[in-house]
Symmetry: C2
DNA sequence: TTGTCAAGAATGAACGTTCGTTTTAACCTC
DNA sequence: GAGGTTAAAACGAACGTTCATTCTTGACAA
């Protein structure tokens, strides 16, 4: 009996193997969650899709809830990095340039990792949004990411204002929220109906920010 | 309960009573679905919230699925009517005018019927979006509403173009999709974080469509 | 290099619970 | 007291999870 006092238990299989199994589970779960939602997906569905038995899966995750949280976190992270990759530039990119670039990058990213299903990520993101209503941990992660993003957009809008591209009297946060809203709406439409493409969306945004309405045609702001 | 003479031959309670019970069930279910999602809500939850027993509820609805479909349909309908109430005008309202008016109207509508919880409808709408991924009937209702709405917005954008407010070279459908996206994003942010108000959103939209970027500062459209 | 073997990894049947739904029997109104 | 409506008990199915068991792996002795 060769009893040795190994501090680190020797792994029976490599760390790569363990990582691959974990990924196998998360990928299977993600496919289920995307088309069926978190709570209409059973563990049996996940097991079947992952190609593993119950015992195997429960060796890597303590509960279904933990898998849901992991998939949600990865989803939010993939959206976050697609934004973060777009660095600040001088002169600042216009909204249509910036958003078009972010969406194009995301499209390329998805083409590589997701079997070219351009709707999968938006659909999953929509499920994550719904999950925040009942899962405080997911809500916290989402809120953190959102507020970081909002701060970046506010800074960008302020840069617009200092260059005279945007009315300096406008509230930068309101403008930033509106810009974020366009991206969220893009995701919603892509998730629900598909057929959205970054170039077309950029064209629409471009036409909007290039709009020119004679002031005398405007109606007063308050109506009720 | 208040049982009155029967209007219909077989019924022993009034139609008003039946309608009220149906509404009682739908209201309870809606409250559950809003905060918990369709599939994380059990029938027990619905029964408790509606204050009725299983037998009573199953007299009015054949299944949980039928309740889900009814709540989803009512939700989409309430969004639809809030749009439909905004008639065509000449000159056409600018995007910020129109969207601001629609959101204000919706706010008033919600204040009357929903205990002043301005997040409830957007949250429920988000759940409905998620449900379309696995429920073809809900998906059909949503798609019908969306395409009707899209058509109206395209017509409006074309009116902008004929007045020279929007670049006539832009694809009207892309611009319309972008405008719809802003509203969807408004709903998302209101559902997730609250604190959105129509006036602020209108201000943000106003600043966007009034943006003025010197052409020589723009970057080329294609990047990769 | 090869054989051995303890321990990690994986299995799948079975568990207790909770699900949506149905049946039952008491209840209320006329 | 009869008809229609309700609440509550009961149903089978399906849920997420566990566990006794089997299979696989890799370090080590020879």
């Amino acid at each position: 009996m060769n009893v040795r006092f190994n501090l680190r238990a020797m792994a029976r299989v490599s760390q790569e193997h363990l990582d691959a199994r974990r990924r196998q589970i998360l990928d299977g779960a993600r496919r289920c969650f995307t088309s069926n939602g978190f709570h209409a997906t059973s563990m049996q569905d996940v097991l079947r899709e992952a190609g593993l038995s119950a015992g195997a899966v429960y060796r890597y995750f303590r509960s279904k809830e933990e898998i849901v949280a992991a998939v949600a976190a990865e989803t939010l992270e993939s959206v976050r990095v697609s934004y973060a990759a777009t660095a600040a530039a001088d002169p600042p990119p216009t909204p249509d340039e910036l958003i078009g670039a972010v969406l194009s990058r995301l499209r390329v990213l998805l083409g590589d990792t997701d079997g070219d299903d351009q709707r999968a990520l938006p659909q999953l993101l929509m499920q994550v949004w719904g999950e925040t209503l009942r899962n405080p941990e997911v809500a916290r992660v989402l809120a953190d990411g959102y507020h970081g993003l909002l701060g970046q957009w506010i800074a960008l809008v302020e840069a617009y204002q200092s260059r005279g591209w945007v009315d300096p009297g406008a509230d930068a946060e309101h403008v930033a929220r509106t810009l974020i809203a366009t991206v969220q709406g893009y995701f919603v439409q892509q998730a629900l109906f598909g057929g959205m493409d970054p170039a077309g969306f950029r064209e629409g945004l471009r036409a909007l920010v290039a709009m020119n309405v004679p002031e005398e045609e405007r109606r007063p702001a308050r109506e009720h």
